[in-house]
Symmetry: C2
Subunit: 204 residues, 2 copies
């Protein structure tokens, strides 16, 4: 019964698509809309309008606005983690530079949504905070697995500093996107990436 609306649309001439595929497509659209909006501005109405489908169908896929927002944010965090994955190149410093550059590109391309994620995370929305922290943990853990590979000692103290470094990079990049202060993207990426070993050296 619950899949009837989708089947009906298939019959009326639209490309028939599995509910899972359709849901994924709607999530992709939600993430694209989030690039230039805060998630408070990302309404079911807006998504319905952009997708050319009814609100009712969206509720069928996502339950309610809260569930929809969480699904979009989960997908956005997943995109961030995937897009900043270190490329398979041998040189560790180059891998780190490529990963930080991908992060800067991501924040540039998704500024409003990312800022909204950071704000929501800090602002007490518990689910957003958990999704954001999970993403940040994935990024931080990766530093010790493969990203840096600069012989960082994997100690609790080093992890404390790597977490703080990620706050530095986040602040640096968000400030830079707002006002580059005469700094080129190359210089920004180099400064952010190369600051890590010295910081960990100070506390491990």
């Amino acid at each position: 019964m619950t899949s009837q609306p989708t089947a009906a649309r298939g019959v009326t001439g639209r490309v028939r698509m599995s509910p899972e595929h359709r849901r994924e497509q709607l999530l992709d659209l939600g993430v694209r809309l989030l690039a230039t909006r805060s998630y408070e501005e990302l309404s079911i109405d807006l998504l319905a309008q952009e997708a050319g489908i009814s609100r009712g169908l969206l509720y069928h896929y996502f339950g309610n606005k809260q569930d929809f927002h969480e699904a979009v944010i989960r997908r956005a965090v997943q995109d961030l983690v995937e897009q900043t994955a270190p490329p398979p190149i041998d040189d560790a410093a180059e891998r780190m530079l490529a990963s930080v550059r991908a992060y800067v590109d991501y924040v540039e391309a998704n500024h409003e949504g990312y800022l909204s994620l950071v704000k929501g995370a800090a602002g007490g929305n518990e689910t957003v905070r958990q999704l954001y922290e999970a993403g940040r943990t994935t990024l931080t853990d990766r530093i010790f697995l493969e990203d840096a590979g600069q012989n960082l000692p994997d100690t609790p103290a080093a992890r404390l500093m790597v977490h703080a470094w990620s706050a530095l990079v986040e602040d640096l990049v968000l400030s830079w996107v707002r006002d580059p202060a005469g700094v080129s993207k190359d210089d920004l990426v180099l400064a952010a990436a190369s600051s890590l070993p010295g910081l960990v050296e100070l506390l491990h």
Copy 2:
């Protein structure tokens, strides 16, 4: 007419106090209560109870809950700026260490309220954000005036990095208060303070 409640209390045996003095005293109490609470938890009722005065009198002093919260947060930020002022000692590195140590002490002593300030600032409460940013600007500007005095170049790029450094220190200290990860306060303070020159060197 509006000062009558205070005068009446004076007559009933309490120490007579000017309205300004009384208001300051209530703000001090508000800041002390905020040390172990978020400011969402800091209610007029709680303050009235702790101060032993009526809600009505509090509204007389502070207008409404929003105004009261703003006054308390303004005072808390002022306390932070004052308590972390660099002491009048000659050695620049020692001044910086003393200032960072005072910051760690402040965050330790006022953990809940400070976390709440940071969250409120990031979470979209516009007035809290402005108060927090103003405090942070004061702290950041001071780096170039006297705190560090380590011949930091005062360029837009250097200010970008000093702002990011303050995000690093904030994250480092808040994480450390939650879980010290085997790091002593001395080591934490030294790492936070000594990281700045190298970071600015990377971007100026």
